[in-house]
C-alpha cells in the first residue's frame, strides 16, 4: 500500500520536480555556494571562506536594513491579511455590482511595483501640490512630509504596499471562502449559532489552510521588498527605508560584490526560514488539514 503511494507520488511529482530541480533548486544552491567567494561578476570568483559572514556581522547597514525590512513586514502583513479577509467577506455577499467592486479592489495588484511607485510618488509630494496633502489641507491638516521624513517614510511605503496588495489577498481569501459549503452555516444556524460564533467556529477554521498560505507568502514577499522603496525613496531618507533586498541588489550589481550579496541573501533566507518554521509550528495548532 505504501509502495503504491510512493510510486503514485513519484508520477504525480515528476513533471513539476524536474523543472523545480533544474530551475529553482540548483540556482538556489548555487547562490549559497557563491556566499563563500568574492566575485565582482566581471572577473573570476575567488574563495574566501567565511569572510563575508564575518563582515556582515559588523556591517551596520546590514543590521539597519534587516530592521527596516522586519518593521515593514511585521506591520504590513497582519494589516494586510486582516483587511483583505474583511474585504473578501464583504465582497462575498450578494451585493449589487459585486464583480465591479472586486475588480476595482484587485486593480492595484495588476500593475508592477515600479508602476505603482511611479503613480504614487507625485501623489505623496510633501507640499500642497501633492494630491494627498491637498486633500488633507481641506481638513486643516498641515503638509505631511510623507517620503522625506524618517518618521513618515516607512509608514508611507507600508501604505502604498497595502494599497497594492489588499486586492491580491482578497482574491486569495475569496477562493478560500468559496470552498466552504453553505451547509455548514445552515447547520450552525439551525443549532442557533449567531454570526460571530459562525465566523470563529466555521469560517476561520475552514479557511485556515488558505490563511496559512496567505500568511506565509505574504511574509516571504514582504521580506523581499525592493521595487517599491527603490522608486519611492531610493532607500532614504538617510537609509530609513533601505531594505535588505535593496542592499543585496546594490552589493551584487553596483558595488561589484556578488559574494557578499549572496551571503546577505543566505542570512535573509535563514531569517525567513526561521519565521516560517515558527509560524508553521504555531499553525499546527490552528490549521485544519
Amino acid at each position: 500500500m505504501i509502495r503504491a503511494e510512493g510510486r503514485a507520488a513519484f508520477l504525480f511529482l515528476l513533471p513539476n520536480i524536474i523543472g523545480f530541480l533544474i530551475f529553482s533548486l540548483v540556482p538556489t544552491l548555487s547562490s549559497f555556494a557563491l556566499s563563500f567567494v568574492n566575485w565582482g561578476l566581471l572577473d573570476k570568483p575567488s574563495f574566501t571562506g567565511l569572510a563575508n559572514y564575518r563582515e556582515l556581522l559588523s556591517d551596520s547597514i546590514f543590521w539597519l536594513t534587516l530592521k527596516n525590512t522586519a518593521l515593514y513586514s511585521f506591520v504590513k502583513v497582519p494589516l494586510n491579511l486582516i483587511l483583505s479577509l474583511l474585504l473578501a467577506i464583504l465582497l462575498n455577499q450578494r451585493l449589487r455590482g459585486r464583480n465591479f467592486f472586486r475588480a476595482v479592489a484587485f486593480l492595484p495588484s495588476v500593475c508592477s511595483s515600479v508602476a505603482v511607485a511611479l503613480i504614487w510618488s507625485p501623489l505623496l509630494e510633501s507640499s500642497k501640490n501633492g494630491l494627498i496633502n491637498h486633500l488633507l489641507s481641506f481638513f486643516g491638516i498641515d503638509v505631511i512630509p510623507f517620503l522625506v521624513s524618517p518618521l513618515w517614510a516607512m509608514p508611507s511605503v507600508i501604505f502604498v504596499g497595502l494599497w497594492k496588495e489588499l486586492g491580491y489577498f482578497m482574491v486569495i481569501f475569496l477562493a478560500g471562502l468559496q470552498g466552504i459549503s453553505r451547509s455548514y452555516y445552515e447547520a450552525a444556524s439551525i443549532d442557533g449559532a449567531n454570526a460571530r460564533v459562525a465566523f470563529f467556529n466555521i469560517t476561520l477554521p475552514l479557511i485556515s489552510p488558505t490563511t496559512f498560505f496567505a500568511l506565509t507568502t505574504s511574509l516571504i514577499g514582504s521580506f523581499q521588498i525592493f521595487d517599491l522603496t527603490s522608486v519611492l525613496t531610493k532607500g532614504g531618507p538617510a537609509n530609513a527605508t533601505n531594505t535588505l533586498v535593496m542592499y543585496i541588489y546594490q552589493n551584487g550589481f553596483q558595488f561589484f560584490r556578488m559574494g557578499y550579496a549572496s551571503a546577505l541573501s543566505l542570512i535573509l533566507f535563514i531569517t525567513i526560514f526561521i519565521i516560517t518554521l515558527v509560524q508553521n509550528h504555531w499553525a499546527d495548532k490552528w490549521v485544519f488539514d
Binding site: G6, F10, I17, I18, L21, I22, W39, G40, L41, L42, D43, S121, P122, E125, S126, S127, K128, V143, P145, L147, V148, S149, P150, V231, L232, T233, K234, G235, G236, P237, A238, N239, N242, Q250, F253, Q254, F255, F256, M258
Partner: protein
C-alpha cells in the same frame, strides 16, 4: 525516495548535455562577422544608433552589428550578467560611474595599441572624457556623450522676481543670496531645489567652498574637512530654513524637479544635456544653461561627465570591434549623433555646433557656455573603483544633515566605512 532523486539527476544531466551540444554546434561560424553592441536609450535614441549601424554596415559589408538595448535602469545589470555568464557584448557603452571598476576587474580591452597603430588623434576627444578611461597609461575606451552638468536658470522666474541673471563667474555667496531672496512660504516659488540621488548634485557646492569629497589622487576621504562640511551645512541650513522644497531630501525626487521648473515655481536646478532635451520640448520654457557657482579665485566647479565606449576583453572579434568603435566615436559617428541632437557636440569640431543648434531655441547660450565650461569651468568627478559604494555612504549622510543632524558629525561618522571601501578596492 533516494532512487527517485538519482533517476531525476540522471535525467537532468542528459538534458543538460544535449542542450550544451546544440550550443557548441552553433558556435562554429564562417562568413560575415557579427558584433554585439550594447547601449541604453529610449526610442529616439535607438533611432540614432540604428542610423549609425546602417551607415557603418554600408561601409563595412563584412561586419554585421547586433544591437543589445535596454532602458538605462538596470542596463548595467544586464551587461554585467552577460559578462558573468560568458556572453559579453563585443562593444559596450558604460557609464563612467562604473568604468574604473570594469577596468580593474579586467572586463575591458586596452585600446592604446590600436590607437597607436592606427594613428588616432586623441586631441579630437575631450580631455576630461579621456581622463576617466585611463589607468596606468593605458586607455580603455573612447568617450561618449561627454557633457557638463549645467545649472539651469529659469528666465521667467528670474524676471518675475526682479533678479538679474548672475554672471558666469558667480560665487557661492552670490548663489546663496539669490536663493535667500525668494520667499517660498508666501508664493510657493523656490530659488533652488535638488534631489539627493548622487554626489554630482552636491560636489559643485563642495568645490565652491574650497573643499572636496576625495583627495586629488582619490585615495583619501576628505568629506569631513572644512570646505565640504561648510557646503553641506549650507545646503542643510537652506533646507531647514525652508528655502528648498521639502522633497529635496528625497533621492527619488528627480521627476519633481523638472515639474517645478516647468511650472515656473523653481528658479535654478542642476540639469544634464538630456534634461535640456526634455525641457526644451515643453511649450513656453525660457531657460539657459549656466555654470555652477564658484569659489573666489577657483573656477572649476561645474561637473563634467562622460560615458565610455569600450571593447570587451572576452570579445572574440576585437579587430572588427575596434573598426566599429573607431567609426562610432569618430567623426562620422559624432556627425550622426549631433545631427539627431542626441547630445551636444563632444569632439573638438566647432562646426558641429551648427548642426546641433536651432535658431531661437532655448537655451540660447548653450554653445558658448559649453565651450567655456569645457575650457575653464569644468571639473571631473572623483571617479574610482568602488565609486558607487562610496556614494551610497555619502548621500545618506547628506540627507541626515539636511534633516537636522550636524553636518560635521554626519560627514565624520562615515569616514571609517569609506576608508574601508577605498582600502578593499585598492588591493
Amino acid at each position: 525516495m533516494k532512487r527517485m532523486v538519482l533517476v531525476l539527476l540522471g535525467f537532468v544531466l542528459i538534458v543538460g548535455s544535449i542542450g550544451a551540444q546544440g550550443k557548441s554546434e552553433r558556435a562554429a561560424q564562417s562568413g560575415p562577422v557579427t558584433l554585439k553592441y550594447a547601449f541604453w536609450g529610449n526610442p529616439d535614441a535607438i533611432g540614432v544608433e540604428q542610423d549609425i549601424i546602417e551607415a557603418f554596415e554600408t561601409l563595412h559589408p563584412d561586419i554585421k552589428i547586433e544591437p543589445i538595448v535596454s532602458g538605462y535602469a538596470d542596463y548595467h545589470t544586464k551587461i554585467m550578467t552577460m559578462i558573468a555568464g560568458n556572453m559579453a557584448p563585443d562593444v559596450m557603452r558604460i557609464d563612467d560611474y562604473y568604468f574604473f571598476d570594469f577596468i580593474k576587474l579586467g572586463a575591458v580591452e586596452s585600446l592604446t595599441p590600436y590607437i597607436e597603430r592606427d594613428g588616432i588623434d586623441l586631441d579630437l576627444y575631450p580631455k576630461m572624457g579621456i581622463e576617466e578611461a585611463v589607468v596606468d597609461g593605458q586607455l580603455y575606451g573612447l568617450p561618449w556623450g561627454t557633457a557638463p552638468l549645467y545649472m539651469l536658470l529659469n528666465l521667467d522666474v528670474f524676471e518675475r522676481a526682479g533678479i538679474p541673471l548672475p554672471p558666469l563667474d558667480w560665487t557661492i555667496d552670490d548663489f546663496e543670496r539669490i536663493v535667500r531672496s525668494f520667499n517660498p512660504k508666501v508664493d510657493n516659488v523656490y530659488g533652488y531645489a535638488i534631489d539627493t540621488n548622487n554626489i554630482s548634485i552636491i560636489l559643485p557646492a563642495v568645490w565652491a567652498k574650497g573643499g572636496s569629497l576625495l583627495s586629488e589622487d582619490k585615495s583619501q576621504y576628505t568629506g569631513d574637512q572644512s570646505g565640504a562640511v561648510a557646503a553641506i551645512q549650507l545646503i542643510a541650513d537652506l533646507y531647514q530654513q525652508g528655502y528648498l522644497p521639502k522633497d529635496s531630501v528625497n533621492a527619488g525626487n528627480t521627476e519633481a524637479l523638472r515639474r517645478w521648473f516647468s511650472n515656473n515655481s523653481l528658479a535654478m536646478m542642476s540639469g544634464s544635456a538630456q534634461e535640456i532635451l526634455a525641457i526644451q520640448n515643453i511649450e513656453g520654457m525660457r531657460f539657459e544653461a549656466w555654470t555652477m557657482p564658484q569659489a573666489k579665485g577657483s573656477k572649476n566647479t561645474t561637473v563634467f561627465k562622460s560615458n565610455t565606449i569600450s571593447i570587451a576583453k572576452a570579445s572574440k572579434q576585437k579587430e572588427a570591434a575596434w573598426t566599429f568603435t573607431k567609426f562610432l566615436r569618430g567623426v562620422e559617428g559624432e556627425d550622426l549623433y549631433v545631427r539627431a541632437k542626441r547630445f551636444p557636440p563632444t569632439l573638438n569640431i566647432p562646426e558641429n555646433w551648427d548642426l546641433y543648434l536651432e535658431a531661437g531655441r532655448y537655451p540660447k547660450m548653450i554653445k558658448e557656455n559649453s565651450e567655456l565650461i569645457a575650457a575653464e569651468y569644468g571639473h571631473t568627478l572623483p571617479l574610482r573603483t568602488g565609486y558607487a559604494a562610496i556614494e551610497a555612504k555619502i548621500m545618506p549622510a547628506v540627507q541626515a544633515a539636511m534633516l537636522g543632524k550636524n553636518a560635521q558629525q554626519a560627514m565624520s561618522e562615515i569616514r571609517a566605512d569609506i576608508m574601508k571601501i577605498i582600502e578593499t578596492n585598492s588591493k
